[in-house]
Each structure stands twice: as C-alpha cells, then as structure tokens.
Symmetry: C2
Subunit: 403 residues, 2 copies
C-alpha cells in the first residue's frame, strides 16, 4: 500500500485488503452538492434539531459540573440511564438502569455486541436485505452469513429462521430491525414478533434488535418491540440519533446485567467511555421534559412528509411501481418495473433532475436480487416541495427508460 | 453466561470468555470514594478545564450551525484539521489536512489501526511495560506479543527491536509512547528515536506512535516525535484529552493519505463519525487562539505538581526508592525496595491513609517482572497539599513494611 525506497510494502490485515468504502460514503459525498434534493441518506432533518434548548442545556452542564469534561465510568451516568428507563416504558419495555449500557451511538452498540458474540468465521443470521452498517461491522470477522427472505410489508421471514434453527444452525446472533426497517420501511407483524421472540428463547440464540426508528411512529397503534416480549435473549439497541440528533453520538443497549462487565471491557478498548458532556446534556434535556414534545413534533413533521411522498409516488411513478406505507421510520422502499436499470436511473436523476436516492441493491447480502429493481427513498430530510419535485423528476426518468 | 429455562447458555466469543475487567475500571471505582487522594488514574485536573470558554464556543456552534448536530463525513471537519496541522508544527511535524484522520479519542485511533493492520494471532511488538489500553485493544486478536525491555530513563530498548527485526520477525506494528511514557514517565533519547525511525523505514514495519503527552512538556527543550523523523512508516496518534479535556472525545491520527479510505471503513463501522458538535467546538476554541495559553497554564501547573511530588518522594520515601524526573506527561514511576509487597501497600494506603496509586505490575506484559516492586504515581490530578500528604502516607507504609 505504501512503499519505502527499498520497495517494502505496508501489509494490511487480509480482510482490510479486500475492504471497499461503503456506498454510504459515496452518497455522503454526492449529496454534499449544493442544491441537490437528497432522498439518499437516512438523515434526520437538521432544521428540526432543538438547537437552542440543547445549547442551553449543554452550557448549563459545562458551567455547573467540572466533571462534565472529565473521563468517567459508564456507571456514573445514572441520571441519563433513569431517563432512558422511563423512555423505554413507552415502548412497553420494563428494565432497570443496571441493564442499560451507554454507547457512542447505536452503531457502536451493534459493533460491541458483534465483538463479544462472534468468533472469526462464525455464523450470523440476518435478512437478505438489511442495514449496511451491520454488514460493515461483520466484515473483519469474515463470517458465514445465514440469510432469510424478507417481506416489504411484514419484514423478516421468521418461518425461514425457524427452519434454519431447527436444522441445527446456531448462529452467534440474529440481527433484525423490528420497526421502520432500513431500507424496507417495514415493521414486523405481531405474529412474527411473537414467534421470533419464542425462537430466541427456545434455541438460546441472542437477537440484536436494532431500534432507531421505534419512536418515529406515524400510526395510532405501535406494536411492542421484541425486547418487550423476551427480556433475556433479546439485546435491544436504542439511539438518540433519530429522535434527538446524531451529533450527540449517544445510544444505549438494554442487555442482561451479567453482560455488563464484558461489555465494559470492549467499550473501554474502543473509546474509553462515552462523552460525559454529551451524556449530561442529553440527561438535562430529558429531565426538563423536552423530549416528549420533540417526539410529537418529529412524528407530525415526518409523518406529513411520508404522506406527501406517497402521494407524489402515486401521482408520478408508473402504475407498475409498488410501495408500502411505512408505519415507522424514514424510508419508503419502491419496487420498480423490471425494465428499470437502477444505476443508470440514479446517474440521470442526479445529473438531469438534481435528485438522489439509494439503489436497493446496496443493501443486499450476497446472492440476493431483491434490491435489483428497487430504491430506498428517505422522506425525513427534504421539504414538501422538494419531495414533490424530486419524485416527479424520478418518475419522468423511469418513464423514459420504458423506451 | 445467561441461561434459559431449558438450560441453554449464552455463548460468547472465545476471547471474551477469558476477558477480565481492566484494573483501570477497578481503580475508577475505587477512586470514586469521596475524599480519597488519588495518584491512581491518569486523569487531567478538572479544575483546569476551560469550561467557561468551551461553553461559549459550543453554544455559538450550536446556535449558528444547524449541521453541528447532524451526521457528517470526516472530510468536512476541515477547519479542525487545519488547526491540528498548525498545532503539529510545534512538535516539529509537517503534515497536511489530508493526512489527518479524526477519531473519538486517541483510544479509538489505536483500536482502528490495530483492526486495520493486525491479523488474528498475528505479531505485535511492544515494550514489556506499556499502556494497558493498548493491550486491551489487542486482546480479541490473541496476538503473539514480541516484547522488548524498557528503561525507566530512556525508554524502549531499540537495540532489542533491531535484533528481533534482523532475526526475521515482521510484526504487524510496533507500539510506542515516545514522550511521557505511560506508566514510566520516560521520554526516549534522541539516539533511540533516530534509530527506531530508521528501523521502521528499513524493515517496512509501521510504528504506532501514541503521543498524548508530547505537549505536556516541563523542560525548555523538547525532542521531536518519531513522526518528525520518519513521515511514512510512523502513524502518529494525538489527543485532546490531556491538553484540553477528555470529555470532548476527540483525537487524531497522522497517516499516509493512501490509508484514509481503509480507515474510514473501520471508523464508520465503529461509530459512523466523530461528533460534529464536539469537533466544531474544539475547532472554534483553537481558532480563537485559546489553546496556546491553555497549554502554557497546564505546563506551569502540572510542572509545579511534578516538582512537589518529586520533592515529597525525596523527603518521605526510603532512600532505596528510585525515581526519574519525567520531562513530560503525568506520571512518576517509583521503583521500590524488594521487601515491599505492592498489593498490600495499595490496600493499606487506601484504607489507612486514604490515598491510591497504581501497582506497577498492572502495566506488565506476560513474563515481565519489572513492575513487581514499582508504582505509577499520577501528579496532575491532586493539589500540592494532597501530594505532600499522600506521598508522606505512602512513605510511612513502605517503612512499616521494612519490618
């Protein structure tokens, strides 16, 4: 990779030699173009961040607590943990502060769990289409991926999970996004939730339940997360990134207390501890009771954008395109007619219409073609006008490809 | 680990089954006792954190930049990187913003580099006594550790490094702390620096130069870090934790540009990106020119505490105890007479004198006994009075053990 004068080359670990930048990085660069309408990344809307309130909270914390800028063990963040316990009740989860482990965002939580559970070359069970950040976590382990089909409406094929487990497979973990699936937008049916929780318990296989979108629900009724149905074998991963702001870099896990020591070992080797300052600021924000109103605002604002996008799709995409109405999250998954060449569509969309989306295949595990004629559309990070204009533009380009 | 009703047990990865909490965690818990004088942890002095200035900067950033709470690619943090380029000039390092990679603290930098360079079961070269956080990073890789002796005055035995490399060993990396070694307090001699830089170049073995203490120098003359002597094969790891505050959780690496893509892949899988908010706040602090004066304050304050501790040791420790005067950092390494049982001394010190230190052996690699009759004493996080009282107490207990 780098060479000295005598021609010696830097050797990287085997996995790293093969590793290629994620499509997210390219998309992040692409969407930095000024004026581009982006349905590409899963960004929360920065116009809605409670910046003034947060500036107040963090200023107060800095001025009043000398220890806010110090190192600190995860255990001292008791106030924040107590607030999270209260928050989780709204998802139907009963837990204690002792079961909460704070992380530098949910991504770190998933990474730490993989580190703890997975042997190099070990097995992991996931859907054929899933969050790329989880696949990135797995890369250095070169694991054997066991994949199951997934339904754009009801999520993971839990019968297929059962078949794998019944056949004797014992993956180190099962990864799933129960609500507002990324990229499908799907929320698992109640029947599937109950069955998956039961399978985890019966076979003693831990489930990593990634739940960044559970609180972003746009319907009157929300289904309980897996963690509410099975407290021992489900490891819940939560995040403030989508419900407050990604910049605070704080997530949490709810795990059995017996795991805390081992989690702390990995966490310490990763970044010593999660920023005290940020923890205290989020705690103050929650203690002031501000998160509840903010969540209502987000549900209202994002829900309305979802509806605008669905309506625009109905109006401007060809009739063969299929979409579901997501009850949660930030994404609409659009299945396109087979004549659509998605990479070409993306290029033309960016160049001719100034709009970006994410090709479905970017989320596919090896062998899956489910994303080949599909796209992920983010609706949280654009105005209603941009959504209408962008969807119309993409619709026109799809029609053009019909030829 | 956790069991279901039918007796199934949660399986952890092999390394994790063995892993035990680090002594740092125990010490962190121990030193939380109110009133305890702690020379144990390597904590900066929180009374000296520039909290008011930082509250101002971060408030301004939050109010003026909507994107400060958003996700963001590492590449956008150009202002901070430019300030770091300027800062590094003071250490004699010439680099460009494109060679700087921002991390969630230096610990993450070291972890990412290990992930990129090290194969499971691979070789790593380090000193027989070294930073425990590096050893923790290595644990999941179950590496073969090649260790070399280390001198409390002049640091790493570079001749021993040469012998290993000349004999054909090609470790994935060499880890060293050039200035203010943790736990020894030693700074490498100029001759050793030049030779180690030359060895890295000749044999094409990357050196991870961990430099949290380089700017905390208490003498008129500072020696250049390895990175200033060899720009290609030395990967420099810097940190704001000791020169500003750990709570900002920002560190940086200076590495060849060709490595950036691969580093980004690992970083993204760890925690997506370093907190924008914190990056912008540190950038604003540096742009306002405040870091220079703060560094002068820290040098003056910590330097005076170092002198107080050395004087107290000379006065209260038995004559057989040996210490060096550290030119940098936060630690004094005290070698004790062979009759001293260090674990007993620590227990008595905490219980009878209300003072804690770190047993030397906690930093030892397997087979090394260098730390058996030694202790690491931190001088940054106590008042002059506490230093005098604490050292007197420990001295009395050492005398008592003479029996």
């Amino acid at each position: 990779m780098t060479t000295t004068k005598n021609g010696t080359t830097l050797r990287l670990a085997n996995w790293a030699q093969q590793a290629a930048p994620s499509p997210m990085q390219d998309m992040l660069a692409l969407t930095a173009r000024p004026g581009l309408i982006s349905f590409g990344l899963g960004l929360p809307n920065q116009e809605l961040f409670p910046r003034e309130a947060f500036a107040e909270m963090s200023g107060k914390v800095l001025r009043e607590k000398p220890s806010s800028l110090q190192y600190g063990p995860a255990s001292i963040a008791h106030t924040l943990k107590s607030s999270i316990v209260e928050l989780m009740k709204r998802r139907g989860i009963t837990c204690t502060a002792e079961q909460i482990f704070l992380t530098t965002g949910a991504q770190q939580g998933i990474n730490i769990l993989a580190r703890l559970l997975l042997e190099p070359g070990g097995q992991v069970l996931t859907e054929e289409i899933t969050y790329t950040g989880f696949l990135q976590v797995l890369e250095p382990f070169a694991p054997e991926l066991l994949t199951v089909p997934t339904d754009p409406q009801t999520g993971m094929d839990v019968d297929a999970v059962e078949k794998l487990l019944a056949s004797g497979k014992r993956p180190a973990c099962i990864y799933c996004i129960t609500d507002g699936h990324n990229p499908l937008g799907a929320s698992m049916s109640m029947e599937k939730r109950e069955k998956l929780a039961q399978l985890a318990r019966t076979y003693g296989v831990p489930v990593i339940e990634d739940d960044p979108y559970g609180f972003l629900s746009y319907e009157d009724v929300s289904l309980p997360p897996l963690k509410a149905l099975e407290s021992e074998w489900v490891f819940y991963v939560g995040s403030f990134s989508k419900i407050l702001a990604p910049g605070v870099r704080i997530g949490w896990m709810i795990v059995p207390e017996e795991l805390m020591d081992k989690l702390s070992i990995v966490k310490e080797s990763y970044d010593i501890n999660t920023a005290n300052w940020s923890q205290h600021s989020v705690a103050a924000y929650m203690e002031a009771g501000l998160l509840t109103g903010h969540l209502e605002l987000l549900r209202r604002e994002y829900g309305a954008r979802r509806d605008t996008m669905l309506q625009a799709i109905a109006e401007h995409f060809p009739a063969e395109c299929q979409v579901e109405k997501p009850s949660n999250g930030m994404f609409i998954w659009a299945r396109l007619p087979e004549f659509v060449d998605v990479p070409t569509l993306l290029r033309d969309a960016v160049e001719q219409k100034g709009v970006a989306f994410f090709p479905g295949q970017a989320f596919a595990t090896e062998g899956s073609e489910m994303g080949k004629h599909a796209m992920r559309l983010n609706f949280s990070n654009a105005t209603h006008e941009q959504i209408q204009q962008g969807i119309r533009g993409i619709g026109e380009l799809i029609e053009k490809q019909r030829g």
